[in-house]
Amino acid sequence: MTEIGKRSTRGVQVLLWGVRIATAGLLGHAALGKFTGTEHALEMFSRLGLGASGRIFIGMIEMLAALLILSPQSTVYGAFLGLGVMIGAIIAHLTMIGLEGLAHATLVAVGCVTLLYICRQDASFLRNLWDR
């Protein structure tokens, strides 16, 4: 549990869980789309040249990130992983596959950054980032 989580008011706790569930939900949904091979996912990965293995691999990372985010002890690591995948997705949208879906990836990235900020005390490499 995060230090902020421990000390926070009920309102912040509700917000934290809301962001957790929303972010993990979006990541999980994207992962399932890749596993089941929706038309959108198939087309996207074909344009990226990553093929089926790349699609499943990215889907697995997204699913792992979603699961880590849902557990309070590992939220920070899940958010970091999720942010990495989403930066990749944003690059893909901007450079190769067009702007459709960019907003979705950006939203998940914002969710991950929010979680990283709230849970920053849980990981030593993040703890110092905002110290002022």
């Binding site: 990226l48 040249g49 990553l50 790349g54 970091f80 942010l83 990495g84 995948v85 930066i87 990749g88 690059i91 893909a92 450079t95 190769m96 030593s124 490499f125 110092n128 980032l129 905002w130 110290d131 002022r132």
Partner: protein, 506 residues
């Protein structure tokens, strides 16, 4: 970041630039060669962002502002420093408070493994150490008298308590220790036939659960037996002393970890159960007062001892770390003039103990055990009251050698807390106050407590106690005495330079 600072400056400048260049390079490779390169692009973008925050956003850490991501290595290496030193770099004889040799001796005893060593001592053996003098005519082990120490016999009370082993588990409260540790110690104490001190943690619910003999400790805050003003509630004390398992009561005046300062339980370790058992709020450090409200001078102190004796009808001892012998003398003189004595005095060495305490107190307060013990013994003899009470010693007494030294200097029996913690599996990570004990002893985190299996560790506690008692008896034979009572300072070789040398004290 010491040594080669100029080199580090250049290296960090290079690193900080290269992170950005690599991020851009992999981005281009990802676009023009293969999308797989973007895995590296993402990695270096994250590094670049973190580096920006380290260097331009945060203001607290100069190393990070100056060196960026490279400076973070300092914190990473520093955080694993204790482990690196303990496992890789510290020699077998240089760790504190117990070096690897001392710890492995306890581990071996606890596991019932032979602890004999060969080819000479690893200790810095020289003429400046206290040694035990052996006899040309050792005692036959068949002639050894069984250890027997009767507490309360001087006052002739009905509820006397007889120690049949020279060792007791020293004061560790539920709070300082987690429940599995308390239960394992309690069960082990029962198996070994030794008593366990409850510490000052209030109603000893978990200590009582194992049915071993208990010494209930009354701290200055009187957790578990206090009225609403924090003073002694006689009814609660009477009820507690009436429990079958409670054999003695100990009034704690001070302890070696923080003499002159009240007990401290860090807020990290205060669970709901502890807050209920002690009657204290959660979320705040619990700091006991430095003195008993009832004891403001020698007169009131002696009256309080008598009051506790009358209420409990049990043997009642006092525990103190020695500060001033002159103060102790006035206290003893008052005892003598009123003919009121505690049934025992426990001398805690100023070397520090298990308790959480400010560093200045652990390092710098209190007379060390051996001179303290010897001084108290001399004082009691000088006043002609040595036979009115027993004397216990505590402070790093984890081996039979140390027991013989302490008992030669006047102790009738010894206490050890850390010896039994090591027997429980303590690996000396020094995290007792953080609730993060990796072996589940001084933590209330159920995930960490899972590692401590009560049945297994209780057996080790008993093995350790029995193993050291066995060695102790062997040492008595080598000294040429038939019981611990016969030990005197003459059984020790005390280097002339030592404060303990009789020439220096007489």
């Amino acid at each position: 970041m010491t040594g080669g600072t100029i080199g580090l400056h250049g290296l960090s400048r290079f690193t900080n630039r290269m992170i950005v260049v690599l991020a851009a390079g992999f981005l281009a490779a990802g676009v023009y060669v293969s999308f797989w390169f973007h895995f590296l692009t993402v990695f270096f973008i994250l590094l670049t962002v973190m580096n920006f925050f380290y260097r331009h956003v945060q203001t607290r850490h100069a190393v990070l502002r100056n060196f960026g991501i490279l400076g973070q290595a300092r914190y990473v290496i520093e955080s694993v420093g204790p482990e690196l030193r303990q496992y890789l770099f510290a020699s077998d004889t240089e760790e504190r408070p117990f070096n690897r040799h001392e710890r492995s001796e306890v581990y071996r005893k606890a596991k019932g493994i032979d602890s004999a060593v060969s080819f000479g001592s690893q200790a810095a053996y020289d003429s400046l150490e206290i040694k035990i003098r052996h006899s040309l005519y050792p005692t036959d082990s068949a002639e050894l008298e069984p250890f027997r120490l009767v507490l309360g016999e001087e006052r002739g009370i009905a509820a006397r308590y007889t120690l049949t082993k020279p060792v007791m588990i020293s004061a560790m409260s539920f709070g300082a220790l987690g429940e599995p540790a308390v239960r394992a110690l309690g069960r082990g104490a029962g198996l070994a036939g030794i008593p366990m001190n409850t510490g000052e943690g209030g109603y000893p619910k978990h200590h009582l659960a194992e049915g071993c003999d208990l010494i209930f400790q009354m701290g200055t805050a009187k957790f578990g037996i206090r009225d609403t003003d924090g003073r002694l509630d006689e009814e609660q004390l009477r009820a507690l002393a009436g429990q079958d398992a409670v054999k003695m009561v100990e009034i704690k005046f001070s302890q070696g970890a923080k003499p002159g300062k009240g007990g401290l339980l860090p807020k990290e370790k205060i669970t709901r159960e502890i807050s209920e058992l002690r009657g204290v709020p959660m979320g705040r450090d619990v700091i006991s007062p430095p003195f008993h409200d009832e004891c403001r001078d020698v007169g009131s102190t002696v009256r309080f001892i008598r009051r506790v004796q009358d209420v409990t009808e049990l043997p009642v001892g006092i525990k103190t770390c020695v500060g001033s012998f002159a103060e102790l003398r006035t206290l003893f003189e008052e005892m003598k003039s009123r003919d009121v004595y505690p049934d025992y005095i426990s001398i805690d060495g100023g070397e520090g103990g298990t308790g959480a305490a400010p560093k200045a107190y652990i390092d710098g307060f209190g007379v060390p055990l051996l001179p303290a013990l010897h001084g108290v013994q001399r004082l009691l003899r000088e006043l002609g009251i040595r036979d009115r009470m027993k004397l216990f010693a505590a402070g790093k007494l984890i081996s039979s050698y140390k027991w013989v030294v302490a008992m030669s200097l006047g102790a009738d029996a010894v206490y050890t807390a850390r010896g039994f913690m090591l027997a429980l599996g303590c690996i000396q990570t020094l995290q007792c106050g953080n609730n993060t004990c990796p072996v589940g002893i001084t933590t209330h985190d159920p995930i960490l407590q899972r590692g401590l299996v009560i049945e297994d560790k209780a057996a080790r506690v008993a093995n350790y106690a029995q193993g050291v008692v066995h060695d102790f008896e062997a040492l008595l034979c080598s000294v040429g005495v038939r019981s611990a009572r016969e030990l005197t300072i003459d059984n020790l070789y005390i280097p002339p330079a030592s404060i303990l040398a009789r020439e220096a004290l007489t």
